[in-house]
Amino acid sequence: MKGDLWFQRVSVGTTWFWLAAFALIPNVMVVAASLLERGDRDFIRFALSLESYRRLLDPLYLRVLWNSLYLAALSTLTCLAMGYPFAYLLARVPRRYSRLLLLLVIIPFWTSSLIRTYAIIIILKTRGVVNNILLWTGLIQAPLELLHNDLAIFIGLVYTLLPFMVLPLYAAIEKLDPLLVEAARDLGAGWLKTFARVVIPLTLPGIVAGSMLVFLPALGMFYIPDLLGGARTLLVGSLIRNQFLAARDWPFGAALSVVLTAVMTLLLLVYARSRRLAYRGDLP
């Protein structure tokens, strides 16, 4: 049919055009910008320079990157520690409850994280819920400093991102055949061994997917440190934002973004690897 080729061409063409125009080209521009100079009155001067990357290697900025990675990793591990047992128990819940209980996890997942961060402010501030309760019960004499520091950011990240960890975990654990677990136990393996040798490897894609859905946003969400953080914390998301908002150093902001993207690509490769490991050849 003559129309067929046309239809195919248009479909492919549209897809290619959109993604090339709004995904490929902008990212190429970012890489290019990172290799140019900061402009005086404009943002970018068209002169090649590695100045931005050189600045990045300054221990001060490396420390910012390190702190961001550390905080993101800590949040991810905490979400994993909290979320895995939760997802496991959820998957073992009788059928008639599982729909409702899953819905109760999906609701915070869909609620705007800005709103949830704001809710945390109310809880943590000096005259907030936690302090009020602790003061009222007499457990403390003066209010605790729970807001505008690293602790608040950590709590905010875990609180906001926990559902992102739970849902992929749940999906992976649900697929786990309980007979496999039973078989392992029948063969004499203790709980720990069963977990380490059977459960974890089979749910690995879920673990990795959940971890990435927590780790990557934790690196880039600047509004959480903005609202919950203090003077002593500077994370890479806020740093990038500042370059475009006030500092007008677009090449430097671009260089930071390139580094962030590089980290993400690395993790994607880890994810691909983990899938291969989990299925050892027989990919679904």
Binding site: R41, D42, F43, L60, Y61, R63, V64, N67, K125, T126, R127, P143, E145, L147, H148, G230, A231, R232, L234, L239, F244, L245, A246, A247, R248
Partner: protein, 343 residues
């Protein structure tokens, strides 16, 4: 499918409808009473789109990004009026369209940052000093900037998220001018400020008064109007002009080159210069008005409030903030280092 497209068009139709009269204002946060803008809209039918920023640098960067097309009225400080004027970012003002310009205090006009006020109209002026919670800190305990360095204030200090204000404080503490362009001096100020960092809980210029009212901080470097507004809600919050010398500044109304609603901008500008309107702005926001006629209308208690209208004594070592030209890069570098470095 067709129905879907029709529904979409219906929803998107407001986009294609004729725009009613608007004026886009970009101003410092908490710097304009809502009722003033509402009154303006009632009188003229022009809708005001109002958004805010918390530093001159943000204003400048935003205007550069959108190439001046999008805002009709913005409010830079004097030293930025200078820079924006030189960059050709401002529209030359036709004074004939601003009959209320006559009410301004001549002593504040025709200054070096904008000769003849060709490009700007003074809006409000004020000082930068120290606010403190008198319930936690006895009056007289903190009289100088350097007092905030005391370890007892660990994690209790707020600093404005403003490069010139903070580095200016550092310079003042060392006895230099807040407009110093000497790189060595600026670096010394930076080193001195690094010593303060363990005490600093937060940098904020958007709404410093919130941190005082919520008792997150007990002392800090703030603008006098912020302290005034905080004091209205909590009588314990007080303000003092530091012995080393408070900074003096003035913010000005300008029209960016490339603004789309220039006529409406002029209307709003003239409206804001009305003595009665200027009075309301000053009393609500807590800063001093440069409008001489408005000064005569001010409530007596407000007029006598030394927080807003400091005495000669209060301003003993004060300096006006001016543009530091090329040295801006030095300031920027050390400001970034201060914000990035942890202690």
């Amino acid at each position: 499918m067709k129905r879907l497209l029709l529904a979409l068009l219906f929803v998107a139709s407001p986009l294609f409808a004729a725009e009613d009269q608007v004026v886009n204002v970009y101003n410092w946060s908490e710097y304009m009473p809502k009722e003033v803008l509402e009154k303006f809209t009632m009188e003229t039918g022009i809708k005001v789109n109002y958004s805010t920023y918390d530093s001159n640098e943000v204003l400048y960067a935003k205007l550069k990004t959108i190439r001046g097309d999008g805002y009709d009225l913005v409010v830079p400080s004097t030293y930025f009026v200078n820079r924006m004027r030189e960059d050709g970012m401002l529209l030359k003002l036709d004074k004939a369209r601003l009959p209320n310009f006559q009410y301004l205090d001549p002593a504040l006009l025709n200054k070096p940052y904008d000769p003849n006020n060709d490009y700007s109209v003074p809006y409000l002026w004020g000082t930068t000093g120290i606010a403190y919670n008198s319930k936690k800190i006895k009056p007289g305990q903190v009289r100088r900037y350097i007092d905030m360095w005391d370890p007892q204030y660990k994690g209790k200090v707020l600093l404005l998220d403003d490069m010139r204000e903070v580095l200016g404080m550092g310079l003042k503490v060392l006895g230099y001018s807040i407009n110093d362009t000497n790189e060595k001096h600026i670096r010394e100020a930076y080193e001195k400020l690094r010593e303060l960092m363990p005490n600093v809980k937060v940098f904020n210029a958007e709404s410093p008064k919130v941190f005082f009212l919520e008792e997150e901080v007990t002392v800090g470097l703030v603008w006098n109007g912020e302290a005034y507004k905080a004091g209205k809600e909590n009588l314990d919050i007080k303000y003092v002009h530091p012995v080393e010398g408070a900074a003096l500044w003035m913010d000005n109304l300008v029209i960016p080159m490339g603004a789309k609603n220039v006529d409406n901008a002029y209307l709003l500008l003239d409206f804001l210069l009305r003595p009665e309107v200027a009075r309301v702005i000053s009393e609500e926001i807590g800063y001093a008005t440069p409008n001489k006629a408005a000064m005569a209308l001010l409530d007596k208690d407000f007029r006598d409030n030394r927080m807003v209208f400091p005495s000669q004594d209060d301003l003993k070592n004060s300096e006006f903030q001016i543009d530091v030209g090329e040295a801006t890069y030095v300031y920027e570098r050390y400001w970034e280092l201060l914000k990035v470095g942890r202690n």
